[in-house]
Amino acid sequence: MSLLAVDQVGFGYRREDAVLTSVSFTLQAGTSLGLVGESGSGKTTLLRLMLGLARPHTGSIRFDDALVVPSDRDFMRQYRRKVQAVFQDPYSSLDPRQTVLQIVLEPLRALGIPGDRRGFVAAALAAVGLDPAIVQRYPHEFSGGQRQRIAIARAIVARPMLLLADEAVSALDLSTRVRIVELFKALAAQMTLVFVSHDLGVVAALCDEIVILQRGRVVEAGPTGSILSSPQHPYTKSLLASVPRMPAY
């Protein structure tokens, strides 16, 4: 059985403009999926629906065979425990007035998770390669890459089954990006990952499967290797051909 099943999902912010049109794909537990598309392709909207921040106008999203219903508070409380997110900008996604401890502890507090919360925070920080001794410091004391590690620690502290990342490495410098992608790779071995990105190079390095979106429709989906080596859809082909490549010399 699949962990996440997106079935014929349609959505629009205004009645006349469809942002997503009959989007379907399934995700097996333990796999990492890359959602690839350019601006306006609907990838962030799709992620919002998967997070339960909005409800599809048509079709359905099922998690662990249960229908995701954003208006059902009890369901959403449980859902938040299982599904967490990391966003693009490590500067705006952390509250500047909170210490690292408060930031990473927040999901445990909000979800009412009992136990040694400080211990969980320390474990999450260690898992993302940060020294747990930093807990009393504030976000502005850290570099972009370190901030993204803090955001990832917050996302994994409640031990979710599914991690959703929206362009989570796009704002980072190249050498930092490599290290954060390595971190996501290590995390993907322990949980299921959906990685939204416009960057095929990052997705190729990280994801087992790829779904290509264009103007709200899935144009191609499949294992990363086969999509990269033999793209079928013209849009996928042009996307691949447009990626700047390192010269072979």
Partner: protein, 265 residues
């Protein structure tokens, strides 16, 4: 003679160094890439070339643009160089364009200025359309009446390029000109820049953190780290056999992402 010659350029803010003892040369018609990560001083270096640094920064050393010393020059003499000797394309086309002016009017402004300077009478409308055509704006007769928010990001950057070209500069400075664009748009803008610079024999100072893009468009590179040049040379030589540890790590990272994509088509 070099078109652009920087010698021992240092930029500091409140005594804190941002760029330290940087020297570089750019000959007419040549293309140079400035590579670096955020905070490396690559954009500051480019802005120093045209005297566009914020007044709060202290600048020392020498920046010669043609025969003019830029460091310490009064704003009036720099105004004469901007547009005639150099033109700049910035990263974010939405902020580079005036939101209250129609696209055609924005392109017309530097055209009129140039005509006034040269004492020529021009058919502004015809030249605007011709320029928009050269940057491959579809249906320029119609789009010249559009406001920046009504056209796509790629089209906005084409308009910004048209404005830069209208001045017929000897040196085009492009500061991350495709970073804000989608990958398919990026590919077409890079192709456009490459062919326009080639046709007109312009020199190009190209600032980027993206190594594959730099490799596709310049001949020589300067690698900056924390305001200091760590390596320089022909792009092929630097990318094929980086000497400095930092360059090696950058090239290694770029290759790591590239390898995952498989063989180039």
């Amino acid at each position: 003679m070099s078109l652009l010659a920087m010698d021992d350029l240092s930029i500091t803010v409140h005594g804190r160094p941002l760029v330290s003892n940087l020297s570089l040369r750019l000959e007419p018609g040549k293309r140079l890439g400035l590579i670096g990560e955020s905070g490396s001083g690559k954009s500051l270096t480019a802005m120093a070339a045209i005297g566009l640094l914020p007044p709060a920064l202290a600048v020392s050393g020498s920046v010669m643009l043609g025969e003019t010393q830029i460091v310490g020059a009064p704003a009036s003499s720099l105004d004469r160089l901007r547009g005639t000797v150099t033109a700049t394309i910035f990263q974010e086309p939405l902020t580079a364009l005036d939101p209250l002016l129609r696209v055609g009017s924005q392109v017309a402004e530097p055209l009129r200025r140039r005509a006034r300077r040269d004492g020529r009478l021009i058919d502004v409308r015809r030249e605007v359309v011709a320029l928009l055509q050269q940057v491959a704006i579809p249906d320029p007769e119609r789009l010249m009446h559009a406001y920046p928010h009504e056209i796509s990001g790629g089209q906005r950057q084409r308009v910004a390029i048209a404005m830069a070209l209208s001045c017929l500069p000897q040196l085009l400075i492009a500061d991350e000109p495709t970073t804000a664009l989608d990958v398919t748009t990026q590919a077409s803008i890079l192709k456009l820049l490459d062919s326009l610079v080639r046709e007109r024999g312009m020199a190009l100072l190209f600032i980027s953190h993206d190594l594959p893009i730099v490799a596709s468009i310049v001949e020589e590179v300067v690698v900056l780290r924390q305001g200091t040049v760590v390596e320089r040379g022909p792009v092929q030589q630097v990318f094929a056999g980086p000497q400095h540890d930092y360059t090696r790590s950058l090239v290694g990272a770029a290759r790591a992402f590239d390898t995952g994509l498989g063989h180039a088509a």
